[in-house]
């Protein structure tokens, strides 16, 4: 019951004109950047970070949450109307969604995506309001060694579980951790990896890293392979659904929500696995399996719901443990640190108003998105016709402005270009960027927890593995890292048995 009254108090905080304006601004900007190719919610939040350092934290977080949810609505519009999904989470939506659009059912595809996202987002946000305080209650008793172990699980999760190649994910993570080491050591005051450059003594600002990797890296990468003939956009009217579409959509929405939320909530979650699982489930359960691959509405409804529910789920580890599991959440965490809050289990205790106002704003933003997206879909689709030279020139323009504004020094712009080239190389060689950004943000925190653990044990390494939670975490890490080896042994054993 505590949660309900806290949530109601949160609604009370959000329902001020300025906060509602921030939510509206957030969902509008979010939908726009979700529709626009090349820009995503993570990049947008990163670009806005320097501006929001001067804002009231609650308002800035409401803005970010709107961008986060809005980006997913916009992303599904793009993947339905263009057969080239911008982000991995909407790959599955594109399979059936684009087929529906080509068959003249774009309006129904957009409608089931938007309404499904609303249903899933609302249910999942409600789940977040009930699950998150439970996780906090559990996490608040954890000591430094356990916390370190949980961070390490997140590291292994984002680099080895998500993505297609473990070694590439780990390489990306290690580069991020190395960037996190640069600067003066917080305990002893020794310079590390600064190469004697005075501007590096304070470390590299997270804004510069995020903008460099997401914005500059992306702009350079697209420029290198720019599609000279723009992809064809399927024209669409106002989204609507008939009775039959509703009948076929509501169960996939609920099943997608049930799959998406838990996957988002675990520290190695993400939206790719639940959207794919949802697609497979709907294909198996459908009474029209022959329509799959030719534009089945269930194949849009389920994955879209799963996508949104998993996004709400990622806020559980973010708010309860201070662990980001997607890029936008990672930058929201950096924002919290920038305002001087300490993310982690204590956040809910120290800043309850902030946390509950954020959750309440998610409900409001989600409702705004439905109102904004159903009638305005044709307008959003027009954004896809923006001339590409102006779009990517604009990204570089805002990236340079944001990075310069952090410390007002030219050096940061050179750093930004260097990081942009790293981002370019990562896209060229298929290295995922999420582990890098998580490494930069959580690396220093992990080191702090490790040193605190060893301080308690007087330098004895046994101090790193205290308590059953840590044991479970290390067992998970060992299983994930050693799995390819184990499966190879099993397979070899199997084949020799069959051979004999």
């Amino acid at each position: 019951m505590d949660n309900i009254s806290a949530l109601i108090a949160g609604f009370g905080d959000v329902l001020t004109p300025v906060n509602l304006l921030m939510a509206l601004l957030g969902v509008t900007v979010g939908t726009a950047v979700g529709v626009l190719p090349g820009i995503g919610p993570a990049m947008t939040v990163a670009l806005l970070l320097p501006i929001t350092y001067g804002m009231e934290p609650t308002q800035a977080l409401i803005l970010f949450a709107g961008i986060f949810y809005g980006g997913m609505y916009g992303g599904s519009t793009t993947s339905i109307l263009l057969n080239t999904p911008g982000e991995s989470a909407s790959v599955v939506t594109a399979i059936e969604g684009n087929k529906m659009a080509k068959a003249g059912r774009a309006a129904q595809a957009l409608a089931t995506a938007a309404i499904g996202s609303f249903v899933a987002g609302t249910i999942a946000t409600l789940l977040l309001a009930f699950v998150m305080p439970q996780v906090v209650e559990f996490a608040i008793s954890l000591g430094a060694p356990e916390y370190l172990a949980i961070i390490l699980v997140a590291f292994v999760g984002v680099s080895a579980v998500l993505g297609s190649s473990r070694v590439r994910g780990l390489a990306s993570l290690l580069v991020g951790l190395t960037i996190g080491v640069i600067g003066i050591d917080f305990v002893t005051g020794q310079q590390r990896m600064t190469m004697g450059i005075p501007q590096l003594a304070d470390g590299i600002d997270v804004v510069v890293v995020a903008v460099g990797i997401f914005a500059v890296g992306e702009a350079l990468w697209v420029a290198a392979h720019l599609r000279r003939k723009a992809a064809e956009v399927i024209p669409v009217g106002r989204p609507w659904m008939g009775r039959e579409d509703w009948r076929r959509s509501w169960k996939p929405w609920l099943r997608g929500t049930a799959l998406g939320f838990p996957f988002g909530a675990i520290p190695a979650g993400g939206a790719e696995i639940p959207t794919f699982l949802s697609y497979m489930t709907e294909k198996r359960l459908s009474r029209h399996p022959e329509q799959f691959g030719r534009g089945a509405i269930e194949g849009v409804a389920g994955p879209e719901a799963a996508n949104n529910a998993s996004a709400a789920g990622t806020l559980v580890p973010l708010l309860a443990l201070g662990l980001p599991t997607n890029a936008t959440a990672a930058i929201m965490l950096a924002a919290l640190e920038g305002w001087g809050f300490e993310p982690g289990p204590l956040l809910l205790e120290k800043q309850p108003d902030l946390v509950w106002a954020l959750i309440a704003s998610l409900f409001i933003g989600n409702t705004m998105l439905l109102v904004l997206n159903l009638p305005l879909a044709p307008v959003w689709a027009k954004l896809l016709q923006i001339p590409r030279p102006y779009l990517y020139a604009g990204i570089l323009f805002f990236a340079s402005m944001g990075a310069y504004a952090v410390n007002s020094q030219t050096f940061d712009l050179l750093l930004l270009l260097g990081l942009g080239l790293i981002g370019f190389a990562m896209r060229r060689f298929g290295l995922p960027v999420l582990p890098l950004i998580v490494g930069v943000i959580l690396g220093p925190l992990a080191e702090k927890q490790a040193r605190r653990s060893l301080q308690l044990s007087g330098g004895d390494l046994s101090g790193l593995v205290g308590g059953p939670v840590a044991w479970v975490c290390y067992a998970i890490i060992a299983t994930v890292l050693l799995w390819p080896l184990v499966s190879k042994v099993i397979r070899r054993f199997h084949t020799t048995e069959v051979g004999a």
């Binding site: 190719p37 090349g38 501006i51 001067g54 793009t78 999904p85 911008g86 297609s164 190649s165 070694v167 590439r168 390489a171 290690l174 580069v175 951790l177 190395t178 080491v181 305990v187 002893t188 020794q190 310079q191 590390r192 990896m193 500059v216 350079l220 990468w221 697209v222 420029a223 290198a224 392979h225 720019l226 599609r227 000279r228 001339p387 590409r388 030279p389 102006y390 990517y392 020139a393 604009g394 570089l396 323009f397 340079s400 402005m401 310069y404 504004a405 007002s408 030219t410 712009l413 270009l417 190389a425 896209r427 060229r428 060689f429 298929g430 080191e447 490790a450 060893l454 301080q455 007087g458």
Partner: protein
């Protein structure tokens, strides 16, 4: 089409360059760590050195595993996107011009101010990406630079230099 299929089966040797870069970063971490003073106290028995050393060693291990993966035909999938056409080779000229426009802004932002350097950045980047409406490109650039300057620098107190236009803006 068949030519492309053959090309994709050949090992992408440029990947070894990335491995070398990772190994180099590892060595750099180890060398740098050896120069850090071994400060430790009862307060902090670990000191500042172990983490960079650990990262350096892990980077060396990962670069070796990565190289083995490439030798076995491992291939990272280049990132796709709405505006990305992966069938074309990397367009060095466009990327080079973009970097030039970016550096021009970095070198002139303090002297000329954001309004001028930002306008040039937008116009130059759009030109690099194939925009040939020079006047329109420059007009959008000036509008964006002026708009951001007044909104952010004057409105929200964010540090953007006025440069030679100090006093005029």
């Amino acid at each position: 089409m068949s030519e492309k299929a053959v090309a994709s089966r050949v090992t992408d040797r440029a990947q070894y360059g990335l491995c070398a870069g990772l190994a180099l970063l590892g060595v750099l971490l180890l060398v740098d760590a050896s120069h850090i003073g071994a400060v430790s106290s009862s307060n902090d028995p670990v000191g500042p050195r172990p983490v960079p050393i650990l990262l350096g060693v892990l980077l060396l291990i990962v670069s070796v595993v990565y190289a083995i993966d490439i030798a076995h035909g491992g291939q990272g999938e280049a990132e796709a996107g709405e505006d990305v056409d992966l069938t074309t080779p990397i367009d060095v000229k466009t990327v080079g011009l973009l970097i030039a426009a970016f550096l021009l802004n970095a070198l002139t932002i303090e002297r000329l101010g954001w309004v001028i350097s930002g306008s040039l950045l937008f116009w130059g980047s759009a030109f690099a990406l194939g925009n040939r409406h020079h006047i329109r490109g420059l007009a959008i650039g000036i509008a964006l630079a002026l708009g951001t300057f007044y909104l952010f620098a004057i409105g929200l107190g964010i540090n953007l230099p006025a440069g030679i236009l100090q006093g005029i803006l």
